[in-house]
Amino acid sequence: MDTAAAGAVTEAAAIEARGIAASCNHFGFCTSTCPTYALTHEENESPRGRIALIGAMLESGAAPDPRTVAHIDSCLSCLACTSVCAMKVDYMHLIDHARSHVERHYRRPLADRLLRRFVAQTISRPGLLRAALTLARPARAFRRLLPGRLGPMLELLPRRSPGGADIAPGIHPAVAQRRQRVALLAGCAQRTLAPQINTATVSLLTRLGCEVVIPEGAGCCGSLELHMGRGRGARRSALRNIQAWLAAAQSGLDAILINASGCGTTVKDYHHLFEHDPSWAGEARRISSLALDVSEFLARIGLGATVSRPYRVAYHDACSLRNGQRVTRQPRELLRAAGYEVVDVPEGHFCCGSAGTYNLLNPGKARLLGERKGRHVDSSGAEVLAVGNIGCMSQLSNYTRMPIVHTVELLDWATGGARPPSLAGLPPPAGAGLRASPGEGASAAAGGVGIW
């Protein structure tokens, strides 16, 4: 895109953002659902307060006020606010636009700039991330001596090198007869932090009759840079993926599957990212229309035969899946269909504090939220925690001792795949039916209070 076209995109986005900010009626339902407001009870730490600040920032010709920037930075982008907003304020695009505006018009302190650049450039590149983890692991012992946010950042490092190899790009043929052909976004950080997720996904999908394509050119979805206000970088990543998937689609594609829900929200929104770019708007729309969370797709095609291991599984709603994509029913139904007993984690509308790079850039609040979520996870009485997003898995591993798996790992195991590595040594299920499933009625085993 040339400079003039980029300017036009920026201006169109600014007009859109001002409209979004003006659509807030200040009802304030969002405040009660906002994790940072719940922690601080400070108006400017709520979506309503941030909307007002962003509106004022966009109207002003001046450089953003550092306090406004701090409140924008403090937002998790968990989108819990959007789940209760009566006016359906498009907060997701507003906060992204605000971050982009800050990035263009505000000069951060040097240490902040360096840290953000390091995070943006390392996490989205699997090779660099792997190297950084290797170098950083020995430094973990000295984390308390490190200045600023470096110490807490090291706290988040996986304690062990992940087991298993990164799955290779290419075509993974269906076992037996091919029923569907799908592309899988292998992602970036997930490939390094938890490669077993992609392995289990491919194993499960191919067993269910899907040919799985992992295009060589596809990589980071762009969300990491997008949520840091680096729209151009995000569009570059997105464009690489669009081109790779379009090439794959020449042989037919039934869906593009994403198994990291943070990425899924962004891919489903590629159409918005390119809506003012006439060269790619149509293709981006096509890609978004094919994008599905892996659980949505599996619910559509069914699991087939399963081996029931009735573990009590607490299902944690990743914000990007619950609020960004409104996918809550399918993962639970799939886990139940696979024979697991599913319970909810209390305060499910609250973010765990992961939120992309939030726990790296805002470790204080992220820790408070992680501890809060960890207590709720532990209180569920479950034996296993299932999650649909690598970010939440990494964050929660610091705040609960419960083994954590991706939902597809459990589904793969139940349909003949390997036992998830993090469940090695897990004792047999304690017993099914002790907890209810939150449909309309109680489970039969939950009785004892009334007679019907």
Partner: protein
């Protein structure tokens, strides 16, 4: 139009009051920033925002006592709120200007006990429907909260004390409270029922409302005599299965027959839930904004043709009726569903919508959730029916006589039409009485429309009062109006109690028309 500053004695010394509270409770318990003062004064009323002096966040009954004593000392009026989600009735905003909001929702949001054997929970004012629901699910989902269809993060206690209601057998939320703890306006703490016993453990305080002495609980429903800081709420066992049923009717005039058919089902107790009877705009308005507002600029009501198109788009009728059975299984309830189905088939054009089908019709799924004790936010969509954020609720009722219900329906439509408002209504029907929730959604940014909304409310109040009908809950703009329509001796008695329990009038002056 309301005069928010009328009738409130000016705070004598707010500066020293805030200093005193800060000294005793810490700076984190006091917020006097401009942002907080502005937000806590916002509401959706035609009368506009209220001027708030500051906001306090107590963490315990003892903190509330400290605040109330300081308020008495410095003559500063305080206005307690629980979760602050009282939408359409005042939000967080005081009735009048110049008060300090005491927000109990942040730090007094503990679930102190859940007793699954006896079916109750002991809670603080900040406990929301969602929080209580989540905790009950965590414990095994054996009990259920009586949900409203309002904000999930609304306060259970706040709703009950304002005489809010749900849809199940425990619909009378105030009626399921027990053992209130209250900081009175004079700073004393009392507990009601057997919780008032001076010695011994809790005993029966969570399970017996009526013990020795006067039943004081009622003094704290829709009053400003004290600040309730905790209470027991009774909970219903969650049945193994809940099977809802829904009917769609085509004509506005079907309401009379609908009410007459619901009555025997409730008088005999055949159906355990209340019935939701929503008109087309109430149901479809949760899904989309007015399709005609841009053209009419809100000067006239929505046309009949647009109403018909809305109904068509959403698979709805002029009226939607929903109820539910609780039982051992769907199969065990099938004969009851069939019985109800045959019953409503007496009305020409009645269309049955099954439980499974209704799950996929969002306006009907709201009924399933609320009758199943699952809080949901879908109904909040009604607030964007018209732009501009104006919203009030007029809440009279009708006896369960079809003749009366139909006559009132015509009166309501006429009054709305005359003001250019869109007639949005839901009746929540029991055996003898249905509460009739009339929703006014209007553009506060348009002075003419704002004025018409205000006039419409006042005209409804006047015309209903002429028929001997009052309201249940009321928007803060109209507390004085409604109190002024009660007999003078009633008001004088209310004021006498106020003087006894809150001699300096420091708790929520003006709320419910009591100073």
């Amino acid at each position: 139009m309301v005069n928010p500053s009328g009738g409130t004695p000016a705070a004598v010394d707010p500066g020293r009051f805030f200093e005193a509270v800060t000294r005793e409770l810490g700076a984190a318990a006091v917020d006097t920033t401009a942002e907080a003062r502005r937000r806590y004064g916002e509401n959706t009323m035609p009368g506009g925002e209220r001027a708030v002096l500051g906001v306090l966040f107590p963490g315990s009954s003892a903190d509330v006592q400290i605040i109330v004593r300081a308020a008495n000392r410095y003559r500063v009026p305080v206005y307690p709120i629980s979760a602050g989600n009282n939408i359409g009735l005042g939000s967080r905003s005081p009735v009048r200007d110049g008060q300090v909001v005491v927000d109990l929702g942040w730090r007094m949001s503990r679930i102190l006990e859940v007793n699954e054997e006896l079916g109750y929970a002991v809670i603080e004012p900040g406990v929301t429907f969602q929080m209580l629901h989540d905790e009950l699910v965590r414990l095994g989902d054996r009990l259920m909260v009586s949900a409203t269809s309002g904000p999930p993060l609304g306060s259970v206690l706040g709703n009950a004390l304002d005489k809010g209601a749900g849809y199940g057998p425990h619909f009378d939320h105030f009626g399921t409270l027990c053992g209130l703890e209250v900081v009175l306006g004079n700073g004393e703490v009392i507990r009601t029922g057997e919780a008032a016993l001076q010695q011994g453990p809790a005993g029966n305080s969570h399970v017996s409302r009526y013990s020795f002495g006067p039943v004081l609980d009622g003094l704290f429903a829709q009053s400003n005599y004290g600040i309730v800081t905790r209470a027991t709420v009774w909970l219903l066992p969650r049945p193994p299965a809940i099977e809802s049923f829904h009917f769609v009717f085509q004509r506005d005039a079907d309401l009379g027959a609908i009410i007459d058919l619901i009555r025997p089902l409730k008088l005999s107790g055949f159906v355990p839930t209340l019935f939701r009877v929503c008109n087309d705009l109430y149901a479809a308005g949760t899904e989309e904004p007015s399709p005609e507002y841009a053209a009419t600029k809100g000067r006239t009501r929505i046309s009949d043709a647009a109403r018909a198109a809305l109904r068509e788009r959403h698979g709805l009728g002029a009226w939607q009726v929903s109820g539910a059975f609780y039982g051992a299984s769907a199969a065990s309830m099938a004969p009851m569903i069939n019985r109800v189905r045959a019953h409503f088939a007496q009305i020409d054009g009645c269309r049955f919508v099954s439980h499974e089908e209704a799950r996929h019709v969002p306006p009907l799924a709201i009924a399933i959730d609320s009758m199943s004790g699952r809080p949901g936010s879908a109904e909040l969509g009604l607030l964007r029916w018209r732009p501009g954020g104006g919203n009030t609720w007029f809440t009279p009722g009708t006896s369960m006589s079809g003749r009366q219900a139909l006559a009132l329906d015509r009166l309501g439509r006429e009054t709305y039409d005359a003001s250019g408002m869109d007639y949005i209504i839901m009746h929540v029907a029991g055996a003898r009485f249905a509460r009739s929730l009339h929703v006014l959604v209007f553009n506060r940014g348009d002075p003419d429309e704002n004025r018409r909304a205000d006039e419409c409310y006042r005209e409804l109040t006047r015309r209903y009062a002429e028929l001997g009908i009052g309201v249940g809950r009321a928007p803060i703009d109209y507390h004085e109006e409604h109190m002024s329509r009660l007999m003078p001796a009633f008001r004088a008695t209310g004021q006498a109690i106020k003087r006894a329990l809150d001699p300096n009038g420091i708790i929520s002056p003006g709320r419910y028309g009591l100073l």
